[in-house]
């Protein structure tokens, strides 16, 4: 009897497996649009805070991106700045003072930012941009004014706020509201790329009367974006609803948007497959799922504006010798590693940014011979290692060189073992992989309490090489390697104050060359975003920054072409 039941279950199982795969073959899982006008966006972890000034995590920035809007917004495809709460701006001759004219200003001056009318129709779906003369409003109907920006920015810069983002706003010297709709920013040094950094959520406006202890954990708080918060159930969901007071509310395609945190990597994919989520952010798809996903129409991959590398402690032997660092880099077959993990190998540190050509080669003279230290060349690597005092991997005292590599339990945790094998083969040296907790890794990075190499994922937060290079000036908090080079500092400052964009990019490439000559890290790969999006979702774009484009453009296409 029991056997018969069991066999019938198995049979039914096999049958339905066939049936469901026949129906959904082209897609990964269910493709039935939700009954109401609401989409569910799945991300990897629970936000710690929704206070724009304090938030640093991707899932927080994603949610805040639906709730708040800054001076400028991002073009959904190019990420170029477009009109947000500001419609026009003026900048002084040396790019140290920016004046923004907000929505509602009677006679805005200066450069007009492109508005929604400049977007492809997929994002506008027939709607027209709101006129600049119409003032923006908060989600309770009150008019948004320049003083709301002044309050938020001063709060960001105030040490008492203890914002982890304050170092990213170090360009800002002072801010003021000139009148109701004119906001002015003084910068510490010329910053021609200032508009590009403004999309970051900590530059959002805040209303002084709404900000009090614990305000962002309240069930409701005022915001100024296309959506406003309806409920936040920790570890369960955050529900946001269309903000009727948003200046382009008619363009907002969804009534509701639900953010769901799912931290278990397999569940993360399964929830989407079962149709319980419509979009997943793509930051945590386990690598072993990729073969099953490739070829599905709702699976996409996109480059991420990040670099996965190994920081080197340049203050401690043996890696305090730059020749050893060159040898390690040249003995690492990054193409092999990247191919295995479905990523893009990286010879240099800065990820692909519009207008930027990274250095193709960095030539260095060692004992009269010129080497390209970015090249994978085991023979030359061995030569350099011999010059560094480790012929055939063995030092003068007869001990074999041993490089510890600290790493965390991340999707890229196999890399240290691969490198161990490569260096054993190419340099005849030993590697000791050391697994550590995230917190321990962060602490070791900051305090330089490590020897050898340490895993380091660097995410750029605005689409400009500066977002990477800002890690290595002598006074940077994020350095993590002990690398200090006055020439690098000076070159970076000079490059960043260059007003001509093409000239600036050329100079930034020189800055990166200078960095790589010091080789405080071994760049390994650029990871990719692997995300899923149901075929009825329209107007959605992921960005290299890991947060999707503004949810304001997203809508459900109930007549999606299933063929």
């Amino acid at each position: 009897m029991l056997l018969r039941v069991a066999s019938s279950i198995l049979f039914a199982l096999a049958l339905s497996a066939c049936r469901s795969s026949a129906a959904d073959e082209r897609y990964f899982g269910k493709t039935v649009p939700p009954a109401d006008n609401r989409l569910t966006y799945e991300h990897v972890a629970e936000p710690e805070t929704l206070d724009p000034t304090l938030a640093t995590l991707t899932q927080e920035w994603t949610t805040i991106g639906a709730l708040f809007e800054g001076l400028v917004a991002s073009h959904p495809e190019t990420l170029e700045p477009i009109a947000g709460i500001a419609t026009h701006y003026e900048v002084n001759a040396d790019s140290t003072q920016y004046t923004f004219f907000l929505r509602g200003h009677a006679s805005p001056r200066g450069t007009r930012l492109p508005d929604t009318n400049s977007l492809p129709d997929e994002f506008r779906h027939g709607h027209k941009a709101a006129p600049a003369i119409k003032a923006a409003q908060w989600s309770d109907g009150r008019v948004l004014m320049a003083r709301d920006f002044a309050f938020a920015w001063k709060r960001l810069l105030d040490p008492a706020t203890a914002s982890p983002n304050v170092a990213y706003a170090k360009a800002v010297k002072d801010v003021r509201a000139l009148d109701e709709f004119t906001f002015q920013v003084d910068l510490n040094s010329p910053t021609p790329f200032f508009l590009k950094i403004l999309w970051q959520p900590f530059f959002s406006p805040l209303r002084e009367d709404a900000v009090m202890p614990g305000w962002a954990a309240r069930k409701q708080f005022v915001s100024n974006g296309p959506f406003r918060i309806r409920e936040w159930k920790p570890y369960e969901k955050i529900v946001v609803e269309k903000n009727p007071f948003y200046y382009e509310a008619d363009l907002v395609g969804l009534d509701e948007l639900v953010f769901r945190p799912v931290s278990d990597p397999s569940s993360y994919v399964n929830v989407y497959k079962a149709g319980e989520a419509d979009i997943i952010d793509g930051l945590n798809v386990p690598k072993f799922f990729l073969p099953a996903l490739r070829g599905k129409r709702d699976f996409r991959q996109a480059p991420l504006f990040m670099n996965f590398s190994y920081s080197i402690n340049v203050t401690k032997p043996p890696a305090d010798n730059v020749l050893i660092r060159y040898a390690l880099n040249m003995a690492t077959d990054k193409a092999a590693i990247a191919e295995l993990l479905g990523a893009v190998p990286s010879k240099t540190f800065v990820a692909s940014a519009p207008g930027y050509d990274p250095p193709a080669a960095v030539n260095v003279d060692v004992n009269g011979v010129t080497y390209d230290i970015l090249k994978y060349d085991p023979a030359q690597a061995r030569e350099i290692l011999a010059h560094a005092g480790f012929p055939d991997g063995v030092g003068r005292d007869g001990t074999r060189l041993n490089i510890p590599i600290g790493f965390t339990n991340s999707p890229l945790r196999q890399i240290p073992e691969i490198i161990q094998q490569q260096w054993r083969d190419n340099l005849h040296i030993d590697v000791t992989p050391i697994m550590m907790e995230n917190k321990v890794l962060y602490d070791s990075t900051v305090t330089l309490q490590y020897t050898g190499l340490l895993e380091s994922s660097w995410f750029g937060t605005y689409l400009d090489p500066d977002s990477f290079l800002l890690r290595f000036p002598s006074d940077s908090l994020y350095n993590g390697t002990g690398f200090k080079d006055p020439d690098f500092d000076q070159l970076l400052q000079e490059a960043n104050r260059t007003l001509d964009p093409a000239e600036r990019m050329r100079k930034l490439a020189e800055v990166e060359t200078q960095l790589l000559k010091g080789m405080p890290l071994i760049p390994v790969l650029y990871d990719t975003l692997s995300y899923l999006e149901k075929p009825y979702v329209r107007g959605m774009r992921p960005t290299p920054l890991g947060t999707p484009t503004c949810f304001k453009y997203v809508y459900i296409d109930r007549h999606f072409d299933g063929s």
């Binding site: 029991l2 199982l13 339905s16 497996a17 469901s20 899982g29 269910k30 629970e46 710690e48 805070t49 206070d51 304090l54 640093t56 040490p159 008492a160 203890a162 914002s163 982890p164 983002n165 304050v166 170092a167 202890p213 614990g214 305000w215 962002a216 954990a217 159930k233 920790p234 570890y235 369960e236 969901k237 769901r260 945190p261 799912v262 931290s263 278990d264 397999s266 569940s267 399964n270 929830v271 497959k273 079962a274 149709g275 319980e276 907790e437 995230n438 917190k439 321990v440 962060y442 602490d443 990075t445 900051v446 994922s457 908090l477 994020y478 993590g480």
Partner: protein, 330 residues
């Protein structure tokens, strides 16, 4: 009996203080701090935060401050001391703006309902299976039931959960693969829909079904050899009545003693199942709190777990006396 319970409750206080003292110092010994961050904090910002949570004070002062909050004293920003009859675990460090007490209040009912459902399933299915196996001991049905329970013990929820998801969520779209929806929400009391509760509860109950089935079978098999069963048989009672009424009742004691810690464990949140099925219970907070060095949250959840376990054990002892008249505590 009353004196016994009173004595046990009296001992609980010092025991919890010991547990918390050990946890406090262990947590502080762990490398890394709540403020270590992939984006390093400027030193002045970190100093601000440390001052906010009192971490700039010497360790013993932090300890005294924490312990006085546990017994109900709290100090506001002006330095006024007040007392209230419940412990105050302070603020979560990771979840800025949220209090540990609130986090526990929000998540415990979720874990508790999941855990109790799983326990009831385990109790029902386990006892029936065990009694059935004992009644048919030595037959293929007995072997099959015990083989099944062996699998239940051997199969961790880490494997069983995804297996059930594959079957019931991805192949047949019957139950969602994760997340909880609420049928009733009444303040902190929230009751999930059967649809969303089914898979996590089943996964969680499996190992307990297995244990309870084995305990029951052994207990009933033992009882069936007793003299009073022979008497019952001699009276001509049906085998079913003998097993399910007489033998079973006498073999419930091991299950009672097993149930105390089991319920405490189930109610305080299970990390693996809550994480696989995205259940917003205490277990997920606990693992994140430990990873994030969220000191006050770790201490709060540990204290809650310790109290639950002690109360469950006390309940077991009391129930023992009720079930078995031979046991007295005076």
């Amino acid at each position: 009996m009353k004196r016994f319970i009173f004595r046990r409750l009296l001992v609980m206080g010092p025991m919890i203080l010991i547990v918390l003292t050990i946890t406090f110092f262990m947590v502080n010994l762990a490398p890394g701090s709540p403020f270590s961050h992939s984006r390093a904090l400027p030193p002045e910002v970190e100093a601000q935060l440390k001052a906010k949570y009192g971490f700039d004070q010497p360790r013993w002062k932090q300890y005294v401050r924490f312990m006085s909050r546990i017994v109900g004293f709290s100090t506001d920003e002006a330095g006024n001391v007040s007392w209230h009859p419940y412990p105050d675990f302070g603020e979560s460090i990771k979840y800025r703006d949220r209090r540990v007490n609130d986090i526990i209040k929000e998540s415990v009912p979720v874990s508790a309902i999941l855990g109790l459902t799983a326990y009831l399933i385990a109790l029902g299915v386990g006892i029936l299976t065990g009694a059935f196996a004992a009644a048919r001991r030595g037959t293929w049905a007995d072997s099959l039931a015990m083989f099944g329970s062996m699998i239940g013990i051997a199969l961790p929820s880490l494997v069983l959960g995804p297996l059930l998801i594959t079957l019931f969520s991805l192949t047949w779209y019957v139950f969602p693969p994760g997340g909880i929806e609420w049928a009733v929400e009444w303040g902190y009391i929230r009751i999930p829909t059967l649809r969303t509760l089914a898979l996590p509860a089943l996964t969680l109950s499996m190992i307990f079904i297995a244990y309870i089935a084995r305990l029951t079978r052994n207990g009933v098999t033992d009882s069936l050899r007793q003299d009073y069963i022979r008497t019952a048989r001699a009276k001509g009672l049906s085998e079913r009545r003998i097993v399910f009424t007489h033998a079973l009742r006498a073999s419930l004691l091991p299950i009672v003693s097993f149930s105390g810690p089991a319920i405490a464990f189930l109610v305080t949140g299970t990390v693996v199942v809550e994480s696989i099925f995205s259940v917003p219970g205490l277990g997920r907070y606990f693992i994140d709190a430990a990873n994030n060095r969220d000191y006050f949250l770790i201490l709060g959840i540990t204290a809650f777990g310790a109290v639950s376990l002690m109360i469950a054990n006390l309940a077991v002892d009391v129930i023992y006396a009720l079930v078995d008249p031979r046991i007295r505590y005076e």
